[in-house]
Symmetry: C2
Subunit: 344 residues, 2 copies
DNA sequence: GTTAGCACTCATTTGAATAGAGTGCTAAGA
DNA sequence: TCTTAGCACTCTATTCAAATGAGTGCTAAC
């Protein structure tokens, strides 16, 4: 992989310009138009020579003879490494975002929503945010509220301070007093237990306590499962505006990915938990379904106890600089916010 | 408005066929193609004569000379009144839907989600479902849970059995015991109070109780406000597939409406609370922004205490029959489900 | 190493011709 | 009086060829 070192300063510059030009314009860029728009102080012929060198090295390609050049995945990769990898969000944008977060309720759902919205806006593409998943979820507290004679509302708070609810239908009428008593008893024992520990404990219970314990366990399990699949996304409108959409069913594919829920299962395998920000361009994506896209994604969370995913999904031709800086910033911000929510 | 009675049986039949043909095909329909596909036992010339009569009466129109006819808003209206207004969902579809609802958690959010999804699927268009709004919201119960020394989680259940949460930051450290005591005191007093009644009561409190009361009040108010604007929608993919989208920014407009949140404010003024199902076709819509669309919408809820909105949004050229039957059925189903949730 | 010049390629645009679907009107038939 | 065959006419959509234009690679001169 010493190819990049083979690139002369001028070649790098030309490659950079081609990519920038292509990302905003969406049309293949030729030697002539390039020198018209940028002061390179060389002739178009020289640029052509350099271009053909860049093409030989695999950074750009032509769709057909006598069309301009278009970046390859490798070209984007070079650009990302060279120019975009350590880009940061402008300070005033950071302030603006923090301000928005301050105005919203202190609540996981609101934050996820806002994060998705901010990301989509900055990167002008589809943003994806998952709720944080915990390695081992622990119960913090639960309450039982009698709604009707035989209908009970179970409210459960997990260690991450997220609130879950479930409606229980019981066979025999039960009073609020009985419910409260049971909840008190069980809360004392169940505090901070994991699902596995809960399961062990529930086995030894009897009567109402057993019933409640079983429902509690089921609810813990189901929330754990649903958190794994839930994806917040936003910003389809940006994709609809892009020329890639014209005719081809680009947006369709994307929507299918998002709506069908297969996104996570396609994305997760290629994410390494420890690295911060990761970028997958086109063919770099492990799964077939993601190959038409560019992905900029980062994990956020507290230590390794809770981690969520957040990123940008769009055509390969995407403003990587903006995407990277906003994803990186947002991941850090969300991690900070999570710390408030999550306390042992 | 005796025009409809002026329509001969054959005219009605031709109009019906034109609309059905146009709704599935999306292309203007001509006299020739009509008799080819349907056994009318008359010549195309006769159909042409009838068509020109229908056009004179305003039920169909031509885009330009020598193109087929396309239904006008009035044409759709006729069709809806005549053929679609009392259509019902096939029994096996009803069973299938009920089955899906039985498989999902007994929980408002899940129901709304599922309702939106089912509606979108049946009508093959964008579905819209709002959470039920209560005329006067009453507090049923609340809990306080200490998260950190100065961070408290407030969980609130309203009369409709929906759970709301808020994170409170308090100035001085407070223990779980103090919180529980305060919650017990206030729950006893506040049970079943409306926002207005709460406000009056909070004024007379002191110390921790006052603090809690104020937060409780604020949370009640904010949930009331947010419920007014929240809209679940689903099914954009169907709209993207339709020819109306080609070129024109039809889907863009729709997305703007949905995402911008202006949908409700545009839709609500024209909905009369008492009527069940309502249909607005194109220009019939009161607000400018809705004019390009057809809307089939119904209210659901219990008596007049809680009411939500649910419906289909799509191009004027939409399968009204399917839309109407599924919206009507779903409104009834949701009302039934609400009754379980909502008990005085 | 750079660049002007040139021949060549190929997608896109343009314009004209044509086919196709549809209409309205008229006159003849039932 | 209603129906319909026939026909002239109107428009859109399609097709096809030519023109356009952006771009390329190569070569020879600077």
């Amino acid at each position: 992989m010493s190819d990049e070192s083979e690139l002369s300063g001028r070649q790098r510059e030309i490659l950079r310009l081609i990519i920038q030009e292509y990302v905003v314009g969406g049309r293949a860029v030729g030697s002539q138009s390039l020198i018209e728009r940028h002061p390179l102080n060389v002739s178009s012929a020289t640029v052509r020579n350099e271009m053909s060198a860049l093409e030989r090295l695999g950074f750009i390609e032509q769709m057909h003879t006598s069309a301009g050049r278009v970046p390859t995945d490798r070209g984007y990769r070079f650009y990302v490494e060279e120019y975009a990898s350590d880009s940061a969000l402008p300070a005033n944008d950071q302030i603006m975002i923090r301000h928005q977060f301050r105005q919203v309720e202190t609540q996981l759902e609101s934050w996820l929503e806002l994060a998705a919205s901010v990301l989509a806006g900055f990167a002008r593409n589809v943003s994806v945010v998952t709720s944080p998943r915990t390695a081992v979820s622990r119960l913090r507290h639960f309450e039982l509220i009698s709604l009707q004679e035989r209908v009970v509302l179970l409210i459960m708070v997990t260690q991450e301070s997220t609130v879950h609810q479930a409606m229980l239908h019981v066979a025999e009428a039960v009073t609020q007093e009985e419910l409260s008593a049971s909840a008190d008893r069980l809360n004392a024992v169940f505090q901070n237990l994991t699902i596995a520990e809960l399961r062990a404990n529930v086995a030894g219970l009897a009567d109402l306590d057993k019933l409640v314990g079983e429902h509690l366990l089921a609810t813990m399990e189901s929330t754990q499962a649903s958190e794994r699949t839930e994806v917040h996304y936003q910003g389809i409108e940006h994709v609809l505006q892009q020329p890639e959409f014209g005719g081809s069913r680009f947006a369709q594919q994307l929507l299918e990915l998002l709506r069908g829920g297969s996104l996570l299962s396609e994305l997760l395998p290629q994410i390494s938990d420890r690295d911060g920000l990761q970028i997958f361009i086109g063919e770099e994506n492990a799964s077939e379904g993601l190959r038409p896209f560019g992905v900029v994604v980062a994990t956020y969370g507290v230590d390794n106890e809770v981690t969520g995913l957040l990123g940008i999904l769009g055509p390969r031709r995407m403003p990587y600089e903006r995407s990277i800086s906003s994803v990186r910033y947002m991941a850090r911000l969300m991690s900070d916010l999570m710390r408030d929510l999550y306390s042992a």
